[in-house]
């Protein structure tokens, strides 16, 4: 097993160390810029040497991300970033591997790989930039586009139901699931930092605007003047209280959430204290499914539990075999089985 990262101390790095020499070519005003900037800002704090970071992507606007990071990077093919990342992690588990994907790349063409990467708990961090549109191919409906959405490929409205990325990730039992907003830079930085520290499959959905093909897609909940009443910021161990004046609360009533004034009578419902470490993901799932206009939408960490990772288990079986049988002898292996000698 490669031990490079174990022997190389992380030197003190700055944001500058993570900026590559490539000119960034996203459209002016694209939400991707903010994610790139926050990523370059938090990586020096993670305590990993720069040479041990690998950014992997598929195809789409977001997938240009690795070119702009001065780390190891692999811009693969459409939807397959998670599969490539899985192989990287199997070959060298010491690397900090990040997958940058979008709603089309990660949940349409790459949906199968996303599911299996998460359920295997491969130690990779997946950032899904959700702008609810195909941008690079110039404006078709994506798997997260709303029902009825008018796009180039759905001129009279989409007849499909959208997938909810957080709900998908929780159903796949990803061990870390979060949501943030590209324009909420501080919140995004803290979520990215948490993902970086997580061991196991980390999934982060980032609400992000495409000002060319889907301008204002999350405005209903993220606009400056409405967000405090429409975004609930999840914090571990704290009740789900939100609103301009912290006067609104999310309550659980049977299997549904109810939203109302903090001081409303309980009426059979009860105030929820957020527990991101709950082993049962049911509540996280319900929170992830809250959608405007029926509900405010939650951002923050839905789930953060520690389970053995795929790469730990894979290498663990190898260590176990080697301690039980010794590092294999090729001579013995070739000469095993029923052999005979011709004089």
């Amino acid at each position: 097993m490669a031990t490079i990262s174990e022997t190389t101390p992380a030197p003190s790095l700055t944001r500058q160390d993570f900026i590559s020499d490539q000119e960034v070519r996203w459209c002016p005003g694209c939400g991707d810029y903010a994610v790139l900037a926050q990523m370059q800002k938090i990586l020096p704090q993670v305590g990993v040497a720069r040479e041990n970071f690998v950014f992997v992507s598929g195809i789409g606007c977001s997938s240009r991300f690795p070119y702009y990071m001065n780390t190891y990077g692999f811009h693969s093919i459409h939807g397959r970033g998670t599969a490539v990342a899985t192989g990287i992690k199997c070959a060298n588990p010491n690397l900090s591997v990040w997958v940058v994907t979008g709603d089309g790349d990660g949940l349409s063409i790459g949906g199968n790989h996303m599911l299996h990467t998460l359920r295997r708990n491969v130690d990779v961090k997946v950032l899904l930039f959700n702008n609810r549109i195909y941008g690079l191919t110039k404006g078709q409906a994506s798997p997260t586009s709303e029902h009825g959405k008018h796009t180039k490929s759905t001129p009279v409205g989409s007849i499909e139901n959208p997938i909810n990325p957080v709900s998908f990730a929780i159903s796949a039992e990803a061990t870390f699931v979060a949501r943030t907003v590209a324009t909420e830079t501080k919140h995004m930085a803290s979520v990215l930092r948490r993902a970086a520290d997580h061991r196991g499959a980390a999934f982060v959905e980032i609400y992000q605007n495409c000002n060319i093909f889907n301008d204002g897609t999350f405005e209903d909940v993220t606009a400056r003047d409405v967000k405090s009443d429409r975004l609930v910021v999840l914090e571990h161990g704290k009740p789900l209280v939100f609103g301009k004046n912290s006067n609104l609360a999310v309550r659980l009533h049977n299997l549904h959430m109810e939203v109302g004034p903090l001081d409303a009578p309980s009426n059979g419902s009860h105030l929820i204290v957020h527990d991101e470490r709950a082993s049962d993901p049911t509540l996280a799932h319900i929170l992830g499914n809250m959608r405007w206009p029926d509900y405010p939408e939650c951002i923050g960490v839905f789930r953060d539990v520690r389970k053995p990772t795929y790469d730990e288990l894979l290498l663990g079986q190898i260590d176990q075999a080697q301690s039980a049988k010794g590092a294999g002898s090729l001579q013995d292996l070739i000469h095993s089985g029923d052999t005979w000698t011709i004089e």
Binding site: E51, V54, V84, G87, N112
Partner: protein, 621 residues
């Protein structure tokens, strides 16, 4: 043997025998076959084996789809195929007779378990009457033996259930066949005692069945003669019998060890390639990291990722899976990463005949990707050659930084033959140059000789760089849409593959180095071709043969060899895929195809018949 009674039945010397054991999957057919193989190998015969499994996992007992078989051919001379036609058919029920009779040689011997030839089984097998008695088998020598009954009588005192007793009847049958071909029973006795050491009563019963069968044949004179095949003149050394699957897996493990890297094997279950995954999953102590992917695409993509991160990275599949991997192989071409894609070919297109063999994917290996995307292509020629070619595949991929397709097929991976074991000390190390100086490092800089780019893996400080599927600028590897750069890079990638020709052996011709007819095959047709050509040469026919194992690039002397023959006969288990490539690449020669797409390998006789036809019709004039 316990019994030392004088043998009165005459013994006949024969130079080659082919036996097929057939019965229900519950009849222990594969076990009988492998035990007979071991006993035969220890006697020093050369041999070749081929099992045939039903496509259905558990077809109903006694029915035609439930028949499983195992064929072994053994000889005092070198042999290369499991035999065209069995001389002896051992059938445990009517269905097994029905399925296999068409292959039996005229005058061949049928040993049948007569106890199973009852009306209920005739119906399942589609017989109206008892074939052992109705005269329909006149052309053969039929030996009906009440095997179930005799076996039960021999074990009457054994502390076993009736079911357990019946289960050992295959050992009775095996004992009969051991006597018929003058094989010692000791290797099987040892095997049984080891296998059932925790169930000594079962071990004892099986040994009793085996010896009773042997003695029954010896004493009852149901056979008018029995047979002896003398020792073959084989190269001294230690041997084991090996299947193509086992040899492939061992070759990969050996190659990773010789390259001093972990072995990654990413694969999605598919017949008949899955067995490679099963085999490799046993070798964890060799740092073999197997990954059962969610689909074929994930398997190859994870393999590309593993290669990028520094493992010897392999993915294995069969035809339909190769089709699914095409886009990702293009990514490996563009990123110039070493991966090996093993394609265990099966009869296609689509689901086709999954358990049956074919060579239908050569054209796909050459051309099955978009854009100009050449890859190296190898093909193994025999079960044990899978070891050599798996190692060659890894060596070429990592030293030339390219994806490589290794073609095997269903016939090769299930077939087995004696393998003279190599001395590990004598295997060459696989040298990998990974050195890069941060000051001068160019991700797409090239070795002046091979044109390979450096294999720099994540974790090396100062060498951080980005690769991907977009076209790369020569040297720096940054994204480039420059028209002339693209043309140069397409040329460089093609030239890199072409230069592998300097790093592979020349093609060897067996027989005269020039003349009338060259029989040129590729991959698994080797056994049938070499057997037919050797036979015909001993009969004075001027025919030479050669077998391609390196297909892209071709051996550097191929063009020259082709030009020295008046006619090149190209036998293939497809409609002429190699022939078309040769005709395009080396025009001016006269090519003729011999093509078969029946899901079955060539028989020696089929190659001979074609050659005889060519000679008789005077095509050569």
């Amino acid at each position: 043997m316990a019994d030392t009674k004088e043998v009165t039945t005459p013994i006949k010397e024969v130079d080659r025998v082919t036996i097929r054991f057939a019965g229900d999957s519950g009849d222990g057919i594969q076990l009988s076959g492998s035990q007979f193989t071991l006993a035969t190998a220890r006697l020093g015969n050369d041999l070749s084996t081929l099992p045939d499994f039903p496509a259905e996992i558990r077809a109903p007992a006694g029915t035609l789809p439930g028949v499983s078989s195992f064929q072994i051919s053994f000889s005092e001379n070198p042999i290369f195929t499991p035999g065209d036609q069995p001389d002896v058919l051992v059938v445990m029920n009517p269905a097994a007779l029905k399925v296999n009779l068409k292959d039996l040689t005229d005058g061949g011997i049928i040993v049948a378990n007569a106890n199973t030839f009852v009306p209920a089984n005739f119906k399942k097998a589609g017989y109206d009457s008892n074939p052992l008695e109705d005269g329909s088998l006149k052309a053969y020598r039929v030996i009906p033996l009440p095997i179930t009954e005799l076996n039960a009588r021999a074990l009457a005192d054994a502390p076993l259930t009736k079911k357990e007793i019946d289960r050992s009847k295959n050992f009775f049958a095996l004992g009969v066949v051991y006597w018929l071909f003058d094989r010692p029973v000791e290797s099987t006795v040892e095997w049984v005692q080891d296998k059932f050491k925790r169930r000594p009563e079962i071990a004892k019963a099986n040994v009793t069945s085996l010896k009773t069968g042997y003695n029954y044949a010896l004493t009852t004179e149901v056979f008018t003669s029995h047979y002896r095949v003398r020792k073959a003149d084989m190269e001294p050394g230690e041997y084991r019998n090996i299947t193509g699957t086992e040899a492939t897996a061992l070759g990969l493990v050996a190659a990773a060890r010789l390259a001093d890297k972990p072995l990654f094997y990413g694969s999605y279950p598919i017949t008949p390639a899955s067995d490679i995954l099963h085999e490799l999953a046993k070798f964890k102590q060799f740092d073999v990291r197997t990954f059962q992917a969610e689909d074929e695409i994930a398997a190859v993509c994870a393999t590309i990722g593993a290669s990028y991160a520094g493992a010897v990275a392999i993915t294995g599949t069969s035809g339909p899976g190769l089709a699914l991997k095409a886009e990702a192989i293009g990514l490996a071409v563009m990123t110039e990463l070493p991966i090996v894609i093993i394609n265990v070919q099966r009869a296609g297109p689509s689901t086709g005949m999954p358990t049956k063999t074919e060579q239908g994917d050569l054209a796909m290996a050459f051309n099955g990707r978009h854009g100009e995307s050449p890859v190296a292509i190898l093909a193994a020629s025999s079960p044990s050659d899978c070891f050599t070619m798996a190692m060659e595949a890894v060596r070429i991929a990592v030293q030339h930084m390219t994806p490589l397709i290794l073609l095997t097929d269903g016939y090769l991976v299930n077939g087995a033959e004696p393998w003279r074991l190599p001395d590990v000390e004598e295997l060459s190390r696989i040298r990998i140059t990974q050195d890069a100086d941060p000051e001068t490092f160019q991700p797409y800089g090239r070795d002046p000789e091979t044109l390979a780019r450096p294999w720099v893996t994540p974790g090396h400080p100062g060498l951080e760089h980005r690769i991907g599927g977009l076209e790369k600028a020569e040297g720096s590897g940054v994204v480039s849409h420059d028209p002339l750069n693209h043309e140069r890079m397409v040329g460089l990638r093609a030239e890199k593959i072409a230069r592998i020709a300097h790093d592979i052996p020349e093609l060897e011709v067996e027989g005269e180095r020039s003349g009338d007819i060259l029989v040129l095959g590729w991959g698994s047709t080797y056994g049938a071709i070499i057997s037919a050509c050797r036979q015909m040469r001993t009969e004075g026919v001027r025919v030479s043969n050669a077998q391609l194992r390196y297909l892209n690039p071709f051996p550097r002397n191929l063009g020259n060899i082709l030009s020295r023959f008046k006619l090149v006969l190209v036998p293939e288990l497809n409609l002429g895929q190699l022939r078309d490539i040769l005709a395009a690449r080396y025009p001016g020669n006269r090519y003729m195809g011999l093509n078969k797409v029946q899901g079955q390998p060539f028989k020696i006789g089929e190659i001979r018949a074609k050659l005889e036809e060519i000679l008789e019709t005077g095509v050569m004039v």
